[in-house]
Amino acid sequence: MSQRTERRGIHVDQSDLLCKKGCGYYGNAAWQGLCSKCWREEYQRVRQKQIQDDWALAEKLQREEEAAYASSHGAQTHPQSAAPAPQPQGAPGHASLGPFSKFEEKKTNEKTRKVTTVKKFFSPSSRTAPKKETQEGKTPSPSISRHASFDTDQVSKDFVEFLKNLQKPGREIHKQCRTFIMNMSSKKDLGADELSECVQDFYQNMADRLMSHFKGSSESVEQVMDQVEKYIMSRLYKSVFCPETTDDEKKDLATQKRIRALHWVTIQMLCVSMDEEIPEVSENVVKAITDIIEIDSKRVPRDKLRCITSCSKNIFSAIRITKNEPASADDFLPALIYIVLKANPPRLQSNIQYITRFCNPSRLMTGEDGYYFTNLCCAAAFIEKLDAQSLNLSPEEFERYMSGQASPRFNSSEVDWPQTGPAPGVAPANPVLAQLNHNLELLSGLSSRQETLMEAAQSLQADLLSWPEGVQREVQDILEKYPLEILPRTASAIDANNIDNDNLPPPLTPQVFAG
C-alpha cells in the first residue's frame, strides 16, 4: 500500500495526469501539465537566463555596496556558502520558472521594488547620511541569519549527540544524512514533488536499513527516524517549504481570503458542540487557536504535527466539558473547522503540503498524529468547498452573508442566545462581547458598592472623632451633678487604726438589769 497517496489532491482525472505534450509520461500540475523532461526542455532556457540576470544583479549590488562600505562592513556581507542567505543571496532563489503566472509577476515586482529601495540608499549625493540609513536597514538581516544558523547548529549538535549513543552505525547515519543534504542542495531546481520523492526514498532506505540493524524493533527505528527527520528537515526547510515551483503560496492566499470572507459563520451553523459561555471551554478554544497558529512557526514536520495534535486535544477537552462525554468524530470535525475559521492559520496550505511531502510516512499514516492531520486536511477541504447547503442555509441567505449585505449575528441573536446579557442594544451573538458587558456590569456594581463603603467609613471616622468629646462631656455633666463629698470617718475606722488596742480596756458589754 502506498505512503504517497496522502499527498495527492482529491480530484485528479486520469487524462489530466499525462504530459500535455503527449510524450506518454505523466505530467504534473506544477509544471503546467508537462512531464519533468518536457518541462525542463521547455523552460530551462528561460529560467537559466533569469537566474543569470538575478545573479548579475545581485553581484552588481554587492560590488556597489562593498565598494561603498568596504571599511565598515567588509566581512559581514560576504556570502557564506552554508549560512542562510542575507539579501543578495536570496535574490537568485526567487528566480524561478513560471514567468507566465501572475504570481510570478508579483514576485518579480517585489524583487524590483526591493532593488529600487536598495538603490535609493545609494542615490543621494551626500555619502554620510545614507550610510547611517543603510546600516539601520541592514542590521536585521545578519542577525536573522545568524539566529537561523544558530538554530540549525543546535539541531546538528543534538543530532550528533544522539548518534553518539549508537556508536558506529551512528557515524554511518550521520555521514549518509550529510551526503543526502549535499545532494539535495544541488537539486534545488527540481519540483516539489520530486524533492519529496527524494526525501521519502531516503526515509525509506534509512528505515529499511535501521530495521535490519535493530532486528525489527520498530520503536528504536522510529526514534532514530525522528532524529533523522529533525536533522535533515531543519536543514532543508528553507529551500523546500512553499517552494516557488509550486502554487502553494497562491493557494495560501486563496484560503486566507476565503476564510476571511467566511467570518460570519457562527458556531451554531456548524453545529459545534462547544459552549463558549463556559469559561473553561473558551479557554480551551483560545489554546486550540494558539496551537493551530503555532504550526507555521515550526520547521520540522513532526513538530508541526505536534501542534496539530495539541490543538486537537484542546478541542476534545472543550467538547468533553460541554457534553460531558468523550468526543466522537461527529463532534470533533465541526469543532476543528470552527477553530480553523476562527484562527485563519497562516500559510495553511503550504504547511499541509509540506507535512505531506516531507513527514516520515509511518507517522503520518498510522499514528494518532496522522489522524488529527487527516482531520485538518478535511477541515481545509471543507472550507474550500463550503456552500449554503453545508451550513443549512438557503442559497440566497448564503449569498447575502458572503457579499456582506447581511450579517447573521443580528438576525439570529435573539433566538440563539436568549441567556446572554439583558441589554437589548448589544449584539449578544458574540460571547466575548457578552462577557465584556457582564464584566462591565460587575465592575460598575463594585464601584457603587465601594462608594457606599467609603461613605460609611467616613461617617464612622466622624463618629469616632466626636465620641471621646461626647464621653468627656457626659463625664463632666455627671461630675457636676454629683460633686465629690468627703464623708466623716466612721467609728469602726477608729478601731481599725488603733495598733495598741490590747492595752485598752475591753469594750463595754451590754448588761441586763433586772427591772
Partner: protein, 217 residues
Amino acid sequence: MAAGGTGGRTYSFKVVLLGEGCVGKTSLVLRYCENKFNDKHITTLQASFLTKKLNITGKRVNLAIWDTAGQERFHALGPIYYRDSNGAVLVYDITDEDSFQKVKNWVKELRKMLGNEICLCIVGNKIDLDKDRHVSVEEAESYAESVGAKHYHTSAKLNKGIEELFLDLCKRMMETAQAEERLKGNGASQSASSRRGVQIVDDEPQATPAGGCCSSG
C-alpha cells in the same frame, strides 16, 4: 507501511468507521476498546481515534480505529479519511432503513476507489431493538455477500457481536497483507516503483466520487 507486516511479526492496520450519524459508531468502538457503554465515567477524552493491541495466532496486531464524521455534509471528505486503510467497518442501525441505504453507497464508493484491497464489514447495530427492526436479516446478509463483505449483528448496549466483528476483520486483513507480501516477493518489485504504481491506481478513481459527492451532498 500502512499495510503493516514490515519486518516480521507486528502488523499495523488502519480501520475506518463509516456510517450515518446516530447509528452508534462511537458506542461500538468505545465498547470494543474500553468496554463501556453510555458511561459517564469514561476516562478517555475522545472516541474518534482509538487503538487496540491484539495477539492473533502468535502475531501482534496494532489496530488503529479511525472514526469519521457521519453527517451528510461531510460525506465528500470520505476519500481523505479512508485512503490507505486496510479495513472499513460500515455501520447501520437496524431500525433505520435509510442508514442501510447509506451503507450501500459507501460500499459502492469504496469498491470503486480501493478495489478488493480493503476488507469490508457491514454491521447492523442496535439488535437490542429487534422489535423495531426495519432492515431484514436476509436482505442485509445477501447484500453483504453480493459485494464480498461480511455481515455482523451487534449491540453496543448488550456487548454482543463486537469482539467477533473486530477479530474476524483482523484475521481477514492479515490474510490480505500476507497475500500482498507474497505477491511482492514474486514480482520482486522495488518499493519505490510499487509506490508509483499504487499512486496512479489511487488517483484514477478519486476523480469520480468528488463529483458524486457534490451531487448527492
